[in-house]
């Protein structure tokens, strides 16, 4: 289980996380929604230890990841896979090398076994004949799928998705959502998805948490959040300009 307790994080005078508490159950898809700039990506970076909170606690399976040795943190990170907002593919490597990289560095698999596993991972995300291409030769959707193949390759227990469908056309968006849902059903990992895709996200997430003003305003099942009567959650889901969420 991922557990964040009373997490505070500020950048200069701007408080981004302001006493955030969140528990993410194992083996389920939890979506974090909320207005832009509310710290959703910052939250993901705290979960995987890329950022340290100013105060508060972050625990993964009961183990704190705050102020621990780098080697121990890396041990905990072995449980994770992450799909970044812009896929974060290594731009000097081909698609094949990008996906093969974690296998080459972290396993003792033979070359032929690596080729087999990379090809199978790429096929699983619907990509063929792209092994030799470089990231700048791929479309946004293809990059995300390569990133997903790389994130899935070491069978992680937890996968973090940072806006996996932002900027994609509706068909690719649906395909990526479907892919996340199918791979989750197949592998049963814990997924945390930061997303703005409403209402689509309610179809793939079992739990939804609304982040607002540095705190989790409401968390519940997809249906509970969809039918929430909280004015902030209601306004965010409906996309209305009238309500407590102010643009400026």
């Amino acid at each position: 289980m991922i557990k964040l307790t009373n997490v505070h994080k500020s950048f200069g005078a701007q408080a981004v996380l302001n006493g955030l508490c969140l528990e993410i159950p194992d083996g389920q898809i939890t979506a974090v929604i909320g207005p832009s700039g509310e710290g959703k990506s910052v939250l993901l970076k705290h979960i995987i230890g890329l950022m340290k909170p100013d105060s508060g606690e972050v625990e993964i399976d009961g183990e704190s990841i705050i102020n621990i040795r780098r080697s121990k943190l890396n041990g905990i990170r072995e449980k994770f896979g992450m799909l970044f907002q812009n896929a974060a593919l290594f731009d000097s490597m081909s698609v094949f090398d990008n996906v093969a990289f974690p296998l080459q560095e972290k396993t003792r698999l033979s070359k032929s076994e690596i080729v087999k596993r990379v090809n199978s991972a790429l096929e699983h995300v619907g990509l063929r004949n792209v092994n030799g291409k470089y990231p700048d030769e791929l479309s946004g959707g293809m990059k995300k799928r390569v990133g997903l193949a790389r994130a899935l390759l070491l069978d992680p227990k937890i996968i973090l998705f940072d806006e996996p469908t932002t900027g994609l056309d509706p068909v690719i968006k649906r395909a990526i959502h479907q892919l996340i849902k199918e791979t989750h059903e197949k592998f049963g990992f814990t997924a945390v998805i930061v997303s703005h895709e409403i209402p689509e996200i309610f179809d793939i997430a079992q739990n939804v948490a609304m982040l607002y003003q540095g705190k989790i305003l409401q968390i519940g099942t997809s249906d509970e959040i969809k039918n929430s009567t909280h004015p902030v959650v209601k306004q965010f889901i409906s996309g209305s300009l009238e309500g407590p969420i102010q643009l400026l």
């Binding site: 995987i48 990170r77 992450m82 593919l89 972290k106 973090l160």
Partner: protein
């Protein structure tokens, strides 16, 4: 008055923090060189990038520096009737001082800026974060190969610079101005001692560390998109160049 104190305090804290972070970066890089130096292939690739690809600019700079030294040295020495000492003057200037410093400045401009830009782009496009999320230490893949390569390439480039520069001086002094070729090399051989070569080697080796350190550091902590990378690149070139000259003075005063 109070705001002035505040500003001074804030600036002091910022400078001390930055220096501490830079110091930590250097110490951790050295620790990683000892513990996990990265793959030999990566190191070779970096030697090719920092060393082999700098050869042309080093040849060109060395040749013209040696030629200018030959020209200036000849007219100065001729005033005292000591044209025969031209080989010594050119060789000592190059081996002890100009070779290491100019090599370092040329490599800073060509490779140091590229290193800062490459690592900076990897930082802002989250490629470094991606390495960390895979439980892989970015220092092993990005930083230590560059450090090792710079420490190997700089002394070699400096040696090439010295040799080409000496022949540049020979071309002008002997071929154009008529200095005795035997005297040019004989005097040089007589005056240049191991300590001169050693001090040039120590300088170029430590300049290699400075170039890798500042370029990698500036790129690693680049922020704010393309503008941030451009700022990191500029700062890395300026800071490395200044630090090379300051460190050169310090080493010269110790090694002289």
């Amino acid at each position: 008055m109070f705001s002035l104190v505040q500003t001074i305090g804030r600036t002091t804290i910022a400078v001390v923090s930055e220096l501490g972070r830079m110091g930590w970066f250097l110490v951790y890089s050295i620790y990683m060189i000892v513990r996990r130096p990265g793959s030999p292939l990566q190191i070779l690739k970096q030697i090719k990038f920092i060393g082999a690809k700098s050869l042309f600019v080093i040849f060109l700079t060395a040749a013209f520096t040696g030629m200018v030294l030959g020209l200036q040295g000849y007219y100065t020495l001729a005033k005292f009737g000591s044209e025969g000492m031209l080989g010594t003057a050119v060789a000592l200037s190059l081996i002890r001082e100009l070779g290491p410093v100019l090599t370092a400045l040329m490599v800073t401009g060509r490779a140091g800026s590229a290193i800062a830009a490459e690592i900076g782009i990897m930082r802002i496009t989250e490629q470094i974060d991606a390495l960390e999320t895979m439980a892989l230490d970015p220092f092993k893949y990005l930083i230590t190969p560059k450090f090792i390569a710079a420490m190997i390439a700089l002394p070699l480039l400096c040696a090439i610079f010295d040799v080409v520069g000496i022949y540049g001086g020979w071309l002008v002094g002997v071929k154009l101005l008529g200095v005795n070729p035997g005297a040019y090399f004989y005097e040089m051989e007589k005056s240049v001692v191991w300590k001169d070569v050693y001090s040039g080697f120590v300088k170029s080796y430590s300049f290699g560390v400075i170039i890798a350190w500042i370029s990698c550091y500036k790129g690693y902590f680049a922020t704010h998109g393309a503008e941030g990378v451009s700022k990191a690149t500029t700062e890395s070139v300026v800071m490395t160049s200044v630090l090379v000259l300051v460190w050169d003075y310090f080493l010269t005063s110790v090694l002289l």
